[in-house]
């Protein structure tokens, strides 16, 4: 799994490529990345999962966990380009409601301008 980040305005866009699985340590890498961004003061995080082929249950747990951590610290974490497979998983586990997900980066970035949920 690979993680790249870039800053667009005041939003940190994190691009994940590969599998988010416990076997490949992806869950921990993701957690460390988000924690480090939060520590640097970033509060608007957009997680681009378009290049993620597989998320196992541990990876899914970690996604929810980093979302919770971000929210607890007064931040907002949103998802971009969720694959069909991950979406199905989020539907079955009924975790889709947890995340705000977007299929278009411009729309996602715009969503950070106004308060969440508006």
């Amino acid at each position: 799994m690979q993680i790249e980040q870039r800053i667009v305005g005041d939003v940190a866009v994190i691009t994940v490529t590969g599998d988010i699985t416990v076997g490949k340590g992806g869950d921990v890498i993701l957690k460390d990345k988000i924690n480090s961004l939060l520590q640097q003061g970033h509060r608007k995080l957009l997680l681009d999962l378009g290049g993620v082929s597989y998320v196992d249950s541990a990876g899914l747990g970690q996604l929810v966990s980093v979302h919770a951590t971000t929210t607890r610290q007064g931040g907002v974490l949103r998802l971009l380009n969720v694959t069909k497979r991950l979406k199905d998983l989020l539907v079955v586990t009924k975790l889709l409601v947890v995340f705000d997900a977007y299929d278009n980066e411009a729309e996602a970035l715009a969503s950070f301008v106004k308060p969440a949920g508006v």
């Binding site: 416990v22 869950d27 957690k31 196992d56 249950s57 541990a58 899914l60 747990g61 970690q62 929810v64 966990s65 919770a68 079955v92 586990t93 009924k94 975790l95 409601v97 947890v98």
Partner: protein, 537 residues
């Protein structure tokens, strides 16, 4: 009379016999001063006569002869260190010894033989595949090396996985265990020997630390150091022949003491090197044995854990007045993160559940046990499956491990066919009704143990006679064949389409056969758990 003795090595063992009279007899008969029971020894085999300064060995016309240092003798003045053989083989050997001060170089020769003998013992240990534990072997190696080199103290260092030398055991003469810290100043030489793989003998200014083993006297002088590498040779199979691989240095054997000719003589160094080779093999086998034993212990623990897990599961079959049930759980490792459970509630309803914890192996098994325990405790005191689910979620969150969660389906079936259920993120169970009608039971809420604000809805419907509900863990739908394709929900529905009215175990067989046919020879990648319940009212 000076302190003179024979060190006897014979089939009865090793012992010392003092030559404390002017005429000392050796033979098979009981009256002999040294009785040796062997067909090679005559009744009156030989005698040693103390004459002035001399000890003279005489053969008494024995059948198989008397030998000194390999030569046949009829009469010979003995010198300390002489090896006396009785008969045709080396099975019986007597070493003529005086007190240490008078032993001199001859003694060194016998000590080197001792080393070889010890090497033989160690070799034997290895050949036996002995279960001796590592510290015991190390202590044996150290004590043997100290005994024969006359060094005062020594230690063994072994390389760890990272290739760094680690202190293992330090011993002083007389079998005392020393603290590793008393050698703090001596680490340079071991490292050098470990790196170069070559033995070193060094004469060094004695450091203060050595004084402590000299009964508190402040020793000033020269310290002799003898340090040899511990190498293991390994064989590799090349065609039909064994090929000797380059040696690997696994550690060092370090000895030091006050200057003594024995310690630093070329013969001692060479013998100690040979000894070190055998010692290294013995240490390596003890190490491997310990690793195997540890592995065995973990495997035993896992087997016990698997038994406990099986015991936690309810019986795989149930038959009640208005429903019957079959269940199966196959972990992909020894233990797994799936569980199923069922119980009769006091109000008369039949409660059944199936859960799946994220992950596999022991961590998942522990959490599965926690989820199941919460289910068993909270289901009977909850109004319905949805309120039970909310309570279980809260209970799990209280002791949550970050990012760990469980999915679970919980349903209650009543005598009139009323099915209440709540699905917490579980792959939706399939309801098979007459005419092959299929529906999915997906009402409920999110997975358990992640979200404090989660709420759970109640699904409610009425079953007809012969209706079947099949609850699976995701190990079923996500089972993969060798091509990497998933079994998937569509195949599951297809397999269950004709199962209305069938007995639960027959439904189970149909489903498992379908999965097995699809998967083929691909290994099981996830725990597989399935529960089938049929309404018969």
């Amino acid at each position: 009379m000076p302190d003179v003795k024979l060190r006897v090595n014979d089939p009865q063992g090793r012992r010392f016999v003092a030559i404390d009279k002017a005429l000392f007899t050796i033979g098979r008969r009981t009256a002999a001063d040294l009785q040796i029971i062997s067909t090679d020894v005559s009744r009156e085999h030989a005698e040693i006569v103390h004459d002035g300064d001399q000890y003279i060995l005489r053969d008494r016309g024995s059948r198989y002869g008397t030998f000194v240092n390999g030569e046949p003798v009829t009469e010979r003045a003995l010198a300390f260190g002489d090896r006396i053989r009785l008969g045709r083989t080396d099975a019986i050997e007597l070493v003529f010894q005086g007190d240490e001060a008078t032993s001199g170089l001859r003694e060194t020769a016998t000590d080197i033989n001792d080393l070889r003998q010890m090497a033989g013992i160690l070799n034997g240990l290895r050949a036996l595949g002995s279960g001796r534990v590592l510290p015991e072997v190390l202590t044996l190696v150290m004590d043997s090396a100290l005994e024969v080199t006359k060094a005062e103290r020594g230690f063994v260092m072994l390389a760890n996985a990272a290739g760094e030398l680690e202190f293992k055991v330090a011993r002083g003469r007389g079998g005392q265990t020393l603290k590793g810290t008393s050698f703090a100043t001596s680490e340079k030489i071991p490292r050098e020997v470990f790196t170069t793989g070559r033995s070193r003998t060094v004469s060094d200014l004695m450091d203060g630390s050595l004084a402590s083993v000299h009964d508190g006297t402040i020793a000033v002088g020269i310290r002799s150091v003898l340090c040899v590498p511990l190498r293991v040779m390994s064989m590799a199979q090349s065609g039909s022949e064994g090929v000797l691989l380059p040696d690997r240095v696994m550690g060092v054997l370090y000895l030091d003491g006050r200057e003594r000719s024995t310690m630093t003589s070329k013969a001692t160094v060479e013998a100690l090197e040979a000894f070190a080779t055998q010692a290294a093999i013995a240490i390596e086998s003890a190490r491997l044995y310990a690793e195997e034993a540890e592995k065995g212990r973990i495997e035993r623990d896992l087997r016990v854990a698997a038994e406990i897990q099986r015991a936690l599961l309810a019986e795989p079959a149930y038959k009640g007045s208005y429903c019957d049930l079959a269940a199966v759980s196959v972990p992909c490792r020894t233990v797994g993160g799936d569980f199923y459970d069922y119980l009769e509630l006091t109000g008369g309803a039949f409660a059944f559940a199936l859960g799946d914890v994220a992950g596999k192996g022991p961590p998942a098994a522990l959490q599965a046990a926690a989820v199941q325990t919460n289910f068993a405790a909270l289901a009977p005191v909850s109004e319905n499956p949805a309120s039970a689910m909310a309570k279980i979620n809260v209970a799990l969150l209280r002791r949550a491990v970050e990012a760990r969660f469980a999915t679970m389906f919980y349903g209650t079936l009543e005598a009139d066919g009323k099915l209440n259920y709540s699905n917490a993120g579980q792959e939706p169970p399939i309801l098979v009704q007459s005419g092959g009608r299929i529906s999915k039971l997906d009402i409920g809420g999110p997975v358990l143990g992640l979200l404090g604000y989660a709420s759970y809805e109640l699904g409610s419907l009425t079953l007809e006679h012969g209706d079947v509900v099949v609850v699976c863990s995701d190990g079923v739908t996500e089972a993969r064949n060798v091509a990497g394709e998933e079994y998937g929900g569509e195949r599951l529905v297809e397999a269950l389409g004709r199962c209305h009215g069938m007995k639960p175990d027959a439904v189970m067989d149909t489903l498992m056969a379908s999965v097995r046919t699809f998967v083929g020879s691909a290994p099981q990648a996830d725990d597989i758990t399935t529960l089938v319940i049929r309404f018969t009212g």
